[in-house]
């Protein structure tokens, strides 16, 4: 059954936008032109978009559609793994809801900010959105897989965010056994890279922004497929970080320059380039599904970035620099 899913992914992959078209879209001067050109590919939902907010919502819908399609055509173990893998969007939503609950925002406003993660097999987030306050939000977590969070007494919400991510990654690593044996190592490697990059960013907080070292240590997430927390805690300078993680040099350098936006792009460039390296050897493996999911996310992020940079009227060369593109 995995082969069927992989073949479908190959078919779906052909529907993703080519590099040339992405670059052309990035050189448009008006959001209306962007919507008009993209509507022919993305359909009616995008053509009805009137504002930047609508465009972003339509792109998110399309992205979630693509991911949910994979769930519909996958079975048993793979489906179980994918649901857990997709929980990253649920975690992203929960973090957003938590932030907005702290800011005492209305349920209506929060609804506008979250993505429809329940279509990816996630839990219904409506009770969380409707929670009266932050305390009720936390108490609602007691009946979910995130129950560990409500047992904690934490002052700093950054630690809670880190806990959400820790629970998510622990869950994904637990479900690794559900995917074909040959793909487990590669999938673990990609997840390990994600965690390494997250941990590097956390490690650099005291060096760059004077954050409390003990807080940074609490924000680190255990990485069974990468560098351990103990090793990371021992790294005290950027030089040591660069020596320990030479393949993340571009990411670390972006952080050194305090260009968080560039670091965000480098994060995806590194992941994409590592995943792309395996595209030939993993051509008919489950790993290709993970590659397709990453490609979908990259396209979603690229299109969203283009729409927003057109809205801000950024120069074309800057817009192109914000894209996560494979090397020509």
């Amino acid at each position: 059954m995995t082969t069927y899913l992989v073949c479908k992914c190959h078919a779906y992959k052909s529907r993703l936008l080519p590099r040339r078209l992405i670059l052309e879209l990035a050189s448009l001067s008006r959001l209306e032109e962007f919507v008009e050109i993209l509507s022919t590919i993305y359909g009616r939902r995008l053509s009805e978009a009137k504002s930047l907010w609508d465009v972003e919502a339509a792109l998110t819908e399309m992205f979630i559609d693509r991911l949910s399609t994979l769930l519909k055509i996958s079975f048993e173990n793979i489906r179980e793994f994918l649901i857990q893998y997709y929980r990253r969007f649920e975690v992203q939503n929960l973090i957003r809801i938590m932030r907005m609950k702290i800011a005492r925002e209305s349920a209506e406003r929060i609804k506008e900010l979250i993505i429809p993660s329940e279509r990816l097999g996630g839990m219904d987030l409506d009770p969380f959105v409707r929670a009266r306050d932050f305390n009720e939000f936390i108490s609602l977590l007691s009946e979910t897989m995130y129950r560990k969070i409500c047992e904690m007494e934490v002052e700093n919400p950054l630690i809670l965010e880190s806990m959400f991510r820790w629970i998510y990654y622990r869950g994904v690593f637990d479900k690794i056994s559900k995917i074909p044996r040959d793909d487990r190592r590669d999938a673990m490697e990609v997840l390990g890279m994600e965690l390494d990059l997250h941990n590097i960013r956390v490690c650099m907080l005291p060096m760059l922004y004077g954050y409390d070292r003990r807080l940074a240590e609490k924000l680190l997430i255990d990485n069974p497929a990468g560098k351990s927390k103990i090793l990371l805690m021992e790294l005290r300078s950027i030089k040591e970080l660069l020596e320990e993680f030479p393949r993340y040099r571009s990411f670390i350098e972006a952080l050194m320059r305090r260009e968080e936006w560039r670091a965000e792009i480098e994060y995806f460039r590194i992941l994409k380039s590592e995943v792309d390296k395996k595209r030939i050897s993993k051509y008919i493996s489950f790993f290709y599904v993970l590659k397709y999911i990453l490609d979908c996310e990259v396209e979603y992020r690229n299109l969203r970035s283009i729409a927003i940079s057109i809205h801000h009227n950024l120069p074309v060369d800057v817009r192109r620099g914000l894209l996560i593109l494979p090397r020509a």
């Binding site: 907005m100 702290i102 800011a103 979250i114 409390d212 968080e260 965000e264 927003i308």
Partner: protein, 206 residues
């Protein structure tokens, strides 16, 4: 303009002369104040130009950082980041007097701390915005200082001109007139005394 209630007496004349001297001193003093205000204003304008250039550069940088971050993270994430901000920017202002001009002075600018609180993605933007807010407050202080200085300079100028062109000439004119009348009276008195003397001499001779 002429003074009212003028009495053509020597006492009044002396009083007027004393007042004119006092007015001249006041005029000199006001002229000195005007020059000082001008110098102060020129210096403040130089500082303002420099600070405004810095603020404009910072503003541009914040806008650039914001649009780049917005493009990379998307609207939803960017909007939720600000939720962790505790407290709000507060500025304490105390009035200060410079050459008699009351100006607002920013005693302290309290900008909420974001260290150990913000997700890393937003910190550079928070840092830049924080510096911009601090400099904007300083710029506003300087602008108010310049406005008050300029207003005081305008008033001082009006006073100096009024003294120079109206008050002093009218005093001088009045003094001249009183002096003239008193001189005429004195001449009349002398002639009258001379006539009396002549009459008395003629009477004695007859």
């Amino acid at each position: 303009m002429s003074l009212t209630g003028v009495r053509y007496t020597k006492g009044f004349l002396l009083n007027l002369k004393r007042r004119l001297e006092f007015i001249r001193d006041a005029h000199d003093l006001l002229e000195m104040k005007r020059d000082q205000l001008m110098a102060e204003l020129r210096k403040a304008l130089e500082r303002f130009k420099e600070l405004r250039r810095i603020v404009e550069d910072e503003m541009e940088e914040v806008c650039r950082e914001l649009s780049l971050l917005h493009s990379t993270l998307g609207s939803a994430d960017l909007e939720t980041y600000s939720a962790y901000l505790r407290g709000r920017m507060e500025v304490k202002i105390i009035p200060r007097s410079v050459i008699g001009v009351v100006i607002p002075m920013l005693r302290e600018i309290d900008i909420p701390d974001y260290t150990n609180l913000y997700p890393p993605q937003i910190i550079p933007l928070a840092e830049k915005t924080s510096t911009l807010m601090r400099d904007l407050a300083k710029l506003a202080e300087l602008e108010a200082y310049i406005e008050n200085l300029a207003e005081d300079l305008r008033k001082t100028n009006i006073r100096v001109n009024a003294l120079e062109k109206v008050v002093i000439p009218s005093y001088e004119e009045t003094i001249r007139r009183i002096q003239g009348v008193l001189d005429d009276e004195m001449l009349e008195e002398i002639i009258r005394l001379k006539q009396i003397k002549e009459t008395l001499t003629r009477r004695r001779a007859t």
